[in-house]
C-alpha cells in the first residue's frame, strides 16, 4: 500500500511537472523539426529541379562565372526562358540591359521593402525557423523580415493582396508544404527582376536534407503558377546550410545561436546605387 502510494505520488509529481508545458509544444512529436538557423550566400538565381524539367530564369553566365565577379556581379537573366510570357521576358531583358549599362535596378530587399514569395528565399545572411504545433515562422536577420505560416488552417477568406500573401501549411512526411496566395505584384520572383502578377500561387515544399559529409541542409523547393506572367508552372530550388549549434556558434552573444539585428532603413545595401528612397511615412497619425 505504502509503495503504491509512493508510486502514485511519483506519477502525480510527473504529471505536475508536465502540466506547465503548453500542449502546443508537446504535441508536435510527429512533425519533422525545422527549428534552427539556416543561411546561404547572395543569390545567383534559383537552381532548377534536379530531376530536370522547366526551371527558373537563370543568368546567361554560369554560377562559377558569377561567383568570380564577387560583389560586382552583373545579373543578366536569360529572357529566352520558355516560362516567360512576352511582357515578362521584356522586363527581364530590360533589367539585364540596365545592369550591364551600370544602372542596376535595386532589389526590394535593398530598398527596405519586403521581398515577397518566392523572392524571400534569395535573402542572404541568417534565417531562423521557429516551429510550433500551429505555426512555422521564418525570421530573417536582413531587415527583420518575417513570414508566418499557419499550419492546418484554411486560407483567409478573400485575402487582400499583400507583400507576403496568405500562407497556410501542413506536413507530408518529412516535408512542410506551404500554399501561398494573396500576393501583391510589387516584387520580382528572383534576382533577375522576373515579374509576377497578383494571380501568383506558390507551393513550397521545405525539408531538412543531408548534404556533403552529412551536413544538415534546408531544401526549399517551390512551384510558381501565375497565368498572368508565365506560360506554365515552373519549379525552383534554394538550399540553405545549417549553422550554429554543433556546427559552430554564429554570434558570441548568449554563447550560441541568435539572430543579429539588421535595420535596413539605416544601412541599405544596394552596392553602387546611392540615395535609394526607402519606405517613409508621409502622414504620421500618432507617436
Amino acid at each position: 500500500m505504502k509503495y503504491r502510494g509512493l508510486l502514485a505520488s511519483a506519477a502525480i509529481l510527473a504529471a505536475a511537472g508536465l502540466a506547465g508545458v503548453p500542449q502546443s509544444a508537446l504535441s508536435q512529436d510527429a512533425a519533422p523539426d525545422l527549428n534552427g538557423f539556416w543561411t546561404h550566400g547572395f543569390s545567383l538565381g534559383f537552381d532548377p529541379p534536379p530531376e530536370g524539367g522547366v526551371g527558373p530564369v537563370h543568368d546567361f553566365k554560369t554560377k562559377a562565372q558569377m561567383r568570380a565577379m564577387g560583389q560586382f556581379v552583373v545579373h543578366e537573366g536569360d529572357y529566352n526562358n520558355p516560362i516567360l510570357q512576352p511582357w515578362a521576358a521584356d522586363v527581364v531583358k530590360k533589367a539585364g540591359e540596365a545592369a550591364k549599362a551600370g544602372h542596376r535596378i535595386p532589389t526590394r530587399q535593398e530598398t527596405c521593402f519586403p521581398s515577397g514569395v518566392p523572392n524571400y528565399w534569395t535573402h542572404p545572411l541568417l534565417m531562423q525557423v521557429v516551429q510550433t504545433k500551429d505555426y512555422v515562422v521564418f525570421l530573417h536577420a536582413r531587415d527583420h523580415q518575417i513570414r508566418i505560416v499557419h499550419l492546418n488552417k484554411p486560407h483567409a477568406a478573400n485575402p487582400e493582396p499583400s507583400w507576403y500573401g496568405d500562407s497556410v501549411g501542413h506536413f507530408e512526411g518529412d516535408t512542410l508544404v506551404v500554399d501561398t496566395i494573396g500576393l501583391n505584384d510589387k516584387t520580382p520572383v528572383d534576382v533577375f527582376n522576373t515579374p509576377h502578377t497578383a494571380k501568383e500561387h506558390v507551393v513550397e515544399r521545405i525539408r531538412v536534407v543531408r548534404g556533403q559529409g552529412g551536413a544538415k541542409n534546408l531544401e526549399v523547393r517551390f512551384t510558381v503558377d501565375d497565368p498572368g506572367a508565365f506560360t506554365m508552372p515552373w519549379t525552383g530550388v534554394e538550399t540553405y546550410r545549417g549553422v550554429g549549434g554543433a556546427s559552430g556558434a554564429v554570434d558570441p552573444v548568449g554563447g550560441g545561436d541568435v539572430l543579429q539585428e539588421e535595420v535596413c532603413a539605416e544601412n541599405n545595401r544596394a552596392i553602387g546605387i546611392p540615395d535609394i528612397p526607402i519606405p517613409t511615412e508621409t502622414s504620421i497619425r500618432f507617436r
Binding site: 511537472g17 509544444a25 510550433t132 518575417i146 499557419h150 539605416e266 507617436r287
Partner: protein, 242 residues
Amino acid sequence: MKLSAALIFFAATWGASLAVSAASAAGAGSGDVSGIWWTNNYSSEIRPMGGGALPFTPAGSDAYRKNAAGLKDGTVEDAARKFCVPDGIPRILATPYPFQIFQSPGFVTIVYEQNHVFRTIPLDRPVPKDEELVAYPYYSGNSFGHWEGDTLVVVTKGFNEKTFIDASGLPHSDQLHVTERIRTTNGGKTLEDIATVEDPVMFAKPWSARFVYDLHPEVRIDTAYICGEKHRDISRVRGVPK
C-alpha cells in the same frame, strides 16, 4: 524507511526530470504566454505604475526637455514613426497594433506587427556582462529569458541610443537595462508585462510600468507593415488619435 526515502527521492526526481526534459524538448519552460495579443489602450507616455513622478537624474530631466521640445518642433526626428526602424524596448510594449508570441525549443519569439519587428529571446542562457554587449548595440537590445514559475522573465540590455523609452521622448542611454515579467492572467485571456527600467544616466532609481493585452485569436498578424502604406485599422484602441 530507507526504501521510502529512496522512493520519495525517485518520485521527486522522476517528476522533476520528466518536467525538465519535456520543458527542455518543448523549449517551453513552465509557462505559456503564446498567443496573439492586442492592447485596448494606447498612450504616447509610459509612466510608473501606481503613479508618482519619474525619478529623473539632472541629465535625464534635461534630455527629456530637449527631446520633447524637438519632437514638437521637428528638430528631433522620430525615426521609428518616419522610417519604421524598431521602437526599442520598452516603447514597443505600448504598441497599439497586435503582436504574437511563439514558444519553440529554447526560444520565446515575439513578432510585433508594427514595423515588422521581432525579438528572439533565448531561454536559460547566461546573461552577458554589459561590456560583452558593446559590439551589439541594437534598437531592440539583446534579450535573455528564463521562467520563474509561470512568469517569463526577460532581461534586455545592449541598446543603441537611437530610440526613446516612449513616444513623448523619454530618454535613455546605452546603459539601459529593461527587465520584463510576462505572464497570463484572467484564465489565459489577458497578458501582463511589467517592465522595470534601469538607467543610471537618466534615472536616479529603477521604475516599472505595466502593460496589459487581450487575447485575439481571430487576428492574423500582417508581417509586412511598411512605412508610407495603409496599415491595419486600430480605431478600436482607445487613446489612438482619430
